[in-house]
Assembly symmetry: C2
Amino acid sequence: MAEIGKNSVGIVQTQTARLVEAGQPLELECGESLAPIDVAYETYGELNGPADNAILICHALSGNAHVAGVNSPGDEKPGWWDMMVGPGKAIDTEKYFVICSNFLGGCSGTTGPSSVNPATDEPYCLDFPVITIADMVKVQKLLLDELGIKNLLAVLGGSIGGMQVLQWAIAYPDFVKAVIPIATTTHLGAQSIAFDAVGRDAILADANFADGQYHGKQGPDRGLAIARMIGHITYLSEQGMREKFGRELRSANEYSYEFNSEFAVETYLDHQGRTFVERFDANSYLYITKASDYFDLKKDFGTLTEAFVNVKSRFLIVSFASDWLYTPAQSGQMVDALIANRKDVSYCDIASPYGHDAFLLEPEALGSIISGFLEATHRPEVKSEKGKTKSKKRDVGGEIRDFEQARRPRVDYKLIESLIEPGSTVLDIGCGDGELLANLRADKNIKGEGIELQQEFVLACVNRGLPIIQHDVELGLENYADKSFDYVILSQTVQTVRNPEKVFRELLRVGKKVIVSFPNFAHWRCRVHLFFYGKAPVTKQLPFGWHDSPNIHFLSLKDFDGFCRELGVKVEKKIPLVKRHLRPIRFIPNLFAEQAVYVTSKK
Amino acid sequence: MAEIGKNSVGIVQTQTARLVEAGQPLELECGESLAPIDVAYETYGELNGPADNAILICHALSGNAHVAGVNSPGDEKPGWWDMMVGPGKAIDTEKYFVICSNFLGGCSGTTGPSSVNPATDEPYCLDFPVITIADMVKVQKLLLDELGIKNLLAVLGGSIGGMQVLQWAIAYPDFVKAVIPIATTTHLGAQSIAFDAVGRDAILADANFADGQYHGKQGPDRGLAIARMIGHITYLSEQGMREKFGRELRSANEYSYEFNSEFAVETYLDHQGRTFVERFDANSYLYITKASDYFDLKKDFGTLTEAFVNVKSRFLIVSFASDWLYTPAQSGQMVDALIANRKDVSYCDIASPYGHDAFLLEPEALGSIISGFLEATHRPEVKSEKGKTKSKKRDVGGEIRDFEQARRPRVDYKLIESLIEPGSTVLDIGCGDGELLANLRADKNIKGEGIELQQEFVLACVNRGLPIIQHDVELGLENYADKSFDYVILSQTVQTVRNPEKVFRELLRVGKKVIVSFPNFAHWRCRVHLFFYGKAPVTKQLPFGWHDSPNIHFLSLKDFDGFCRELGVKVEKKIPLVKRHLRPIRFIPNLFAEQAVYVTSKK
């Protein structure tokens, strides 16, 4: 067994359970009913004492129940997500009890169009009823009932698996503590439907398809291979394909002037098509792509917001920047709908060149955010403890040249903390690694959320168990309702955004109070710099030269006062600060304050 | 004839010419030879006296010689680019003599795989030799010879037509005054090759294909339709499809739970596939897509730069922002290669949601830039006359609140003009509508080029006959060689770029001298503002509030002096200016200058 990796779950057997008996058919969404239903599944790890560590993985179009490990000692191909699931891996089988089943309509052990129709004793083929994502999830729930699982720590999956994850959160809100929909969408757009449709056309057009009655004969292999090839192009990104294949020729240096596969990318797709045909059923391909085309939470519920009204799970939504099949923008729509419902949602758009397939190819980035989120959900007390946070604090007294540090000098954190009422709700814009929010949660029992652009900070916040949205605040906060938060914090950021007015107006709409802090450009040192030396000021609060500063606007307390007057904003508190003292200073603040903290609200 | 539009070329006949006789076959790039060769073509307008107004249009994959007008009184379908070609249209048939021919390998009158093979008296089918873009262009040249055309004002075309345009410029540098490659590429990337390959696979997999010998029988209609559907998805953009079709169902409101075409986008693609089959030959589809896959100027010449060494034409390269088949980045590579060769090249990336097909769907934007470029090429003296330019000058004395005006106040233009040696070469960064360059050309006989981000300014420059590249200077000037220009001008822009150091270094590399002008942040009014009032300065030179300024860096003469010292840059001239006077001021310039003009160079 040396050939099985050290962190492998080892040899596993796919098991099968009859979940629906012949006499008691399952009612499907299309109106038809189905029986019997068998389901193939695998499990890894052990259900713990409190039975609070079960995780369900939902697979995508071409996946199956075999997630991790190998099926026999000689088996050279581990499960499709082996890099993510195993002892010590992101989905740690030493901590969690992991279940995955082949979905309804599949062709890897679960009842589908190639199963025998009891009415005819022949394979169903196109007599199999058209199934939906909701039907698949219904059957998965039957499996969990059968296994005695009373609740799930998490459901996760990518692509069509992600659709099942969304359906789980909606259909069984009390059953699922957390969900992780990855590289998925609440509905296919016209382009994705088009690709699916052309793929199905290629199968239907194959002379060997024979209205689906190809069992025991030569099947529609070329049609299915073409469908797979089309799909495969959409799973990769233009960049990924360019870097992997470019215009490389398979073997020769010169063109063959023949119609064979001569570019490397052609050979690769040919191979993908050919090997797919060996392991997949053409009818299943029709049914599953149709199920994904039909999936449309907006249609089901009227609006996306309505779709998520009753969910109770924590959400971690993950997209990949180069995924053009189920795009980051589509993930953004889910995020918005969950925000509109004030749900516990985090969102990360992982930078990756691998397109849609990145959910199978980015084990590090994806693994660390999944494991952090699972642990913060499973053992929140461990992840949110304050000590960990404190140790990350940096010295702010010294010369600050580092961009990130200067962006958010922590000197005003203590003061901001003192301004916030215990038990209130707080949105921190540009929250960095979540230190302020974590402190506020520990000290003041607030309910905090963050918005942050940088991936590593998003990860840090997820690790702290903080709801965090990867988002550029300059794009607005459209889906946050008016007065969603008691406080919105914009610490040391107003001078770095392109459009401070737009941003500030949004914050004032979303927060009952907005706390803004910024460096005072009219501090006497700055004035002296410009007045006597005729130079752009470089001070400890404004530590950058004119040409390398992240600060793209310069303002003083007076400027901000005027700004608030212009916008009709009420200044509730105005606290000029010198860095050394955390007490406000009172003498000519616009001259002596190095920075200022304002508490403002709409009049 | 009331049904024919007023600006139509009217009724035209497609003509056919035998260009290669049976006895004198044409040598093809693949090594085989071909005879006879007939070519179908149409012409519009008249060749003028000097015979300098002939324009060749090259068509794309599914096009043909019938560009404009109708073929009979009852004909309801005008030519494929009728909106662009006609009296008074962008390609004005009252000014120009326009020619278009069906390309070699096509199926609309020119010799191709469905033509009769004289060796067998049967259609060639797959015995037709594999042809290339270069072969197509060779045959087009034969047609022009036959028509007695000695030179072309321009060759233009989109997509595969654009490849022919590029080939024209390279193969016949002395024959072509100007070329306009639109939405095209010097080589297909892996993703585009993949789509072509899958399309061909669909044809080859069709049982009716019969190794191409389908003439007189049922052809591979379903395979060809699938190829066309795949192609069609790539011609549109995701946004375009979303906006046009969304998830609309063809007729019903509810899902059919059947495998028919029920989404509107499916029905649309079905229709595209079906109608294509009626007018196109499957073998031609194989040959033409293969020719486009093979097209690779880099492979032919070693590097793209080498490919364009000998071209003499003016270039106007046009891409469309949402084109993901032949991307703006690919157009950018051509632009770079032409710049590296110091050729006369203009580039415009037209904002459009229509994807690759925008070259057929954006008659206004595309038409105005094409007509401007054609006219500036045909009658340069008319387009570059100075009076026109002057009338566009705006009042710079009044209160400037307009972003664009403030970006480039013209007060320093006169001074900059006075600094430039007659007959020199000049690159103007952020050149706006090209006023400064046009004046320099008229007054000092300089050879000028511009870089500009905004589409309307690019158009204005093309209209003036100025080479203009649509480009963000913050991305660098990689493909401009060291010391390419006597002068590089950066007027009133250094304070608005994110990374002034990077930009300035690039300019110093590319220009022997760099002329920089900027507003002086240490003018006494600014100092007083900050020192006494404690507010961010708002003056005529810095007319914006702290929060709505396009100026994201603030610098004084002293700051810029220090910057030059830091970078080891030689300040050859330093001219502090007060706006009222165009003479430099000498008394404490950093205090009294409202703006400054520097002439700098690398030490």
